[in-house]
Structures are given as C-alpha cells and as structure tokens.
C-alpha cells in the first residue's frame, strides 16, 4: 500500500510539473464566471432582478462533459503513452514495484488531478454565485458540493477508459485522438442509433442529475449505477491486462 501511495505521489508530481494543467484549471474557473456575468448583465439591462439559480449546476455540463474529459485524456496520455514513447516508463518499471501498483497509482493520480480541478471549479462557482446573487439568498452549499462530488465516479470510469485506450496505441497523438473520438462517438451514438440510447456510460457523466434532485425509481437508479461501475471494472481489468503484457 505504501508503494502505491509513494508512486501515486510521484505521478502527481509529474503532472504538477506541467503547467498546462494549471492553465486548464484557470480556464475552467473562468468558465464558471460566464453564467453569473450573463445573469448580472441581463438583470442590469432588463432593470429587474433576474436570478439564475445554482450557477454551479449550470456550469457542470461545460465542465464535466467537455473540459474535464480533455484534462483526463491529456493527463492519462502523459502518464502512459508519452512515457511508453519516450521510454521513461522504465524508470518506474525497473524499480521494486509491481505493474499492478504502477497502473493503479497512475490512474489514481489522474483521479486526484480531476478532483482538485472539480474542487477549484466548485469554489469558483460558489463564490461567483454568492457574489452575483442579487436576491441575497445563500446558495445551497451542501447541495452543490454533493453535485460536484458524485460526478467524480463516472469521471474515474472515463480515466480507466482512457488508460485502456493508451495501452492499445503507440503514439501519444493517436492515443489522444482515439480517446476524444471514442468519447464523442459514445456520447452521441444515440442520436444516430436508437438502441444505443442509455447503454454507454458516458451518457451518464453527470451523476448529479441522476442521484441528486430527481426521484428516479430505485431499480432505474441501481441499473444506471451498476452499468457505470461495470464499465469501470471492465476497463480496469482490460487495461491492466494489456499493461502487464507490454514489453519495453
């Protein structure tokens, strides 16, 4: 367990050393500012108190469906495919740590990066909501924390999907392209294929809409949760199998 943690810290250190993730986090926080600014503008133009509630929730589509997947694909590609290509994965693999622990710690490091980003987005959204809320009503903090937190589960499954894709490609550009292409294809498959509606986990990226604020029947809720978890297990096992067989 300590080796997983030590390697996890190392992987996180590598991600932190790349400034692009900081830039992307700042972009995400700026995106959080758009809805309250628009609300404020409409309010001043209409000379009435227009209130768009739950800014944090409004931003989640843009952040969770687009920005965070891009961050995930970049981070996973940096930790897997780029290291395969540059051969510096050997630094870790020649040390006394099993490949299972390396694989797990890399995926956990990306998960941590995503959690930090989500946390930053939540803070930015909540502060802006509070600042621009003309009605003076306090935002529902517990609700918005829960909304952001539950979204980490499908995002972790997305990390595992990206990690699997990284095991079957050799170039980092190709891996990045494939991650985006597969994600987009699964996301919008139901527009073209009727039976694809609801069977891909990426269609349930926003767990806050499934678990919070809606009254889905327990059976439907359970089937969606188990579907996402099932995808997660499959991606993890498949990715680990290929990672174990990889030769350098």
């Amino acid at each position: 367990m300590s080796k997983i943690f030590e390697n996890f810290k190392g992987e996180l250190f590598k991600l932190a050393a790349r400034k692009k993730y900081l830039v992307l986090m700042i972009i995400g926080m700026l995106i959080c500012a758009v809805p309250p600014l628009i609300t404020s503008l409409i309010s001043s133009l209409a000379r009435t108190n227009v209130r768009i509630s739950d800014v944090a929730m409004m931003n989640s589509t843009l952040l969770i469906d687009i920005l965070l997947p891009i961050i995930i694909f970049m981070a996973v590609t940096d930790l897997f495919c780029s290291e395969f290509k540059n051969n510096n994965i050997k630094i870790t693999l020649m040390r006394p740590i099993s490949r299972f622990k390396v694989y797990l710690s890399k995926t956990l490091a990306v998960f941590c990066l995503v959690a930090i980003n989500l946390c930053a987005f939540w803070v930015a959204s909540s502060l802006l909501e509070f600042a621009f809320n003309a009605s003076g009503a306090l935002p529902n903090i517990a609700f918005s924390i829960a909304a952001f937190a539950v979204n980490l589960v499908p995002l972790f499954v997305l990390i595992l999907m990206a990690a699997l894709i990284n095991q079957i490609t050799n170039g980092s550009s190709l891996a990045m392209f494939l991650c985006i292409a597969v994600y987009a294809a699964l996301q919008y498959a139901s527009l073209f294929i009727g039976w694809a509606n609801g069977i891909f986990f990426v269609q349930y990226m926003q767990w806050d809409r499934i678990l919070i604020g809606t009254m889905l029947p327990f059976g439907a809720l359970l089937s969606r949760v188990t579907l996402v978890l099932g995808y997660g297990i499959t991606f993890f096992v498949g990715g680990l199998y290929l990672f174990n067989r990889k030769e350098f």
């Binding site: 080796k3 250190f13 050393a17 051969n87």
Partner: protein, 244 residues
C-alpha cells in the same frame, strides 16, 4: 558464494526472429560479470528479461533467490539498473529526476540524492532541466539513478555510451571500487571488449542469441592475448570463421 543472479534456459524470441535462446548462467556476490557480444546479439534482451521489462518464452530467472516474475518486488529490491538509453524526464531537473526515482526506496534521503549526483559529477547541474543535458550528461544521470539506492546488484547496459574518456575511466574506477569495498555485484554488457577486460572478473560471450561461453577473465586470457582475441576465437569455433 551467494548466488545473486541465476538464469536457467532463458528463451525470448521477438516476432522478427531475434532474441535469445537457452541462456544459462549465474553470477555470484562481488562478481563484475561482463556480457560481450556484437550489436543485436541479445545482451539487452537478456538484461530486459532480468528486470522484467520484457516477458520470456521459457526459462527461469532468480535474483537473490527470488523468481523475478512471481516475486518481482522482492527480486528487484536491491537492484539498480541502466538499460539502453538512460530513461529520464526531460521536463524535470536532474535532482527531481532522482527524487522521483527515490520515492520507492526507504533508504534514500535528500543527502543520498546529492551524493549520487556528486559521484557522477552532476552536482553543479542539479537544478538544470535534464532535457538540456548532453548525451554524456544524460548517461551520467542514468548511472546516478542506478546507484541511487546503494543496491547490492547493479545492471549496466553499455554504460560507456556517450561518456567522454574521463567519464569512462571514472565509471570504471567506481565499478571496481564498489565491488571491492562494498561487495556490490555488477552485470555489465558491452560490445567493446577492451572496456570489459579492464574491469570484469568473469565474462560471457553471446553471439546470435546464444550463449557461446562463460569464463573467468584469467582463463579467457590464458591462451589469448586480449579479450578481443578470446571473443573472436569463441565465435569462430561456434560459427565458423568471422569475416572481418
């Protein structure tokens, strides 16, 4: 003597037909064991199989008595390696590259990292990005990584690659000193016979994926003036006359 490494009937073939076949040898504690062979003969494949970078088709490898597949972590606990080109992160400083590698060892502190850098004379450049290093400096950093945890067994694949004359001499002296003073065991591959002749006490010749011979350096040089002659004689006996 304690066996540090034991390889039994190792076979690893790549899709292109290259690789190694039926390799068997063992290394005892304190040995400086050289593997001599031309480019593409299977030296690196053998080393990669030892450290788990590639799988094997058949055979067994034990490091410190531990099977390197079933008990990988125990087998690699006291092993330092430099295989092929040094693996470093270009966007990190020399110090941070070592710091990253140090996380998986309990006995490596900041002082040890500084010492490893000074051994390979990179202490002046510890905060420079490794991406800006010359090939020789990268090789030195790779050697520092192999020495970092003060391992009992060090595997070096073509360690003289990219090093200048002073660097080669320093590295050789370091290897001999560590072996004599601390009983560190070395497995070193090279295609330059003179380099191995100056530091090894045992030598194995690999040719075309097969182990041709394993001898002590004294018996190798008993009827041959140099290791180069020994190599050519061994290969000639095995494969017929070598066309030069």
């Amino acid at each position: 003597m304690t066996k540090v490494l034991e390889i039994k009937n190792l076979t690893k073939k790549y899709k292109n037909g290259r690789g190694v076949e039926n390799i068997t040898f063992s290394i005892e504690k304190g040995d400086i064991f050289g593997i001599l062979g031309p480019n593409g003969s299977g030296k690196t494949t053998t080393m990669k199989a030892i450290v788990g970078l590639c799988g094997v088709d058949s055979g067994a490898i034990e490091v410190f008595g531990y099977d390197n597949r079933a008990e990988f972590e125990k087998a690699m606990a006291d092993v330092g390696c430099l295989i092929e080109m040094p693996s470093i992160y270009d966007y990190l400083s020399a110090y941070n590259n070592l710091k990253l590698a140090a996380r998986l060892y309990n006995n490596v502190d900041n002082e040890r990292i500084d010492k490893a850098l000074s051994i390979v004379r990179l202490d002046k450049y510890k905060n420079d990005k490794a991406g800006k290093f010359s090939l020789g400096m990268k090789q030195r950093l790779g050697i520092a990584m192999a020495l970092l945890s003060e391992p009992e067994f060090i595997i070096l694949d073509e360690p003289a690659n990219g090093l200048d004359i002073e660097g080669i001499v320093e590295m050789r002296e370091l290897i001999v000193r560590l072996s004599k003073e601390k009983g560190v065991t070395f497995l070193i591959s090279s295609h330059i016979s003179s380099e191995l002749e100056k530091m090894c006490n045992k030598i194995a010749v690999i040719y075309d994926g097969e182990l041709v011979s394993v001898d002590s350096i004294e018996s190798a040089l008993e009827f041959n003036p140099t290791l180069e002659d020994y190599f050519l004689n061994q290969v000639k006996e095995r494969k017929g006359a070598v066309v030069l």
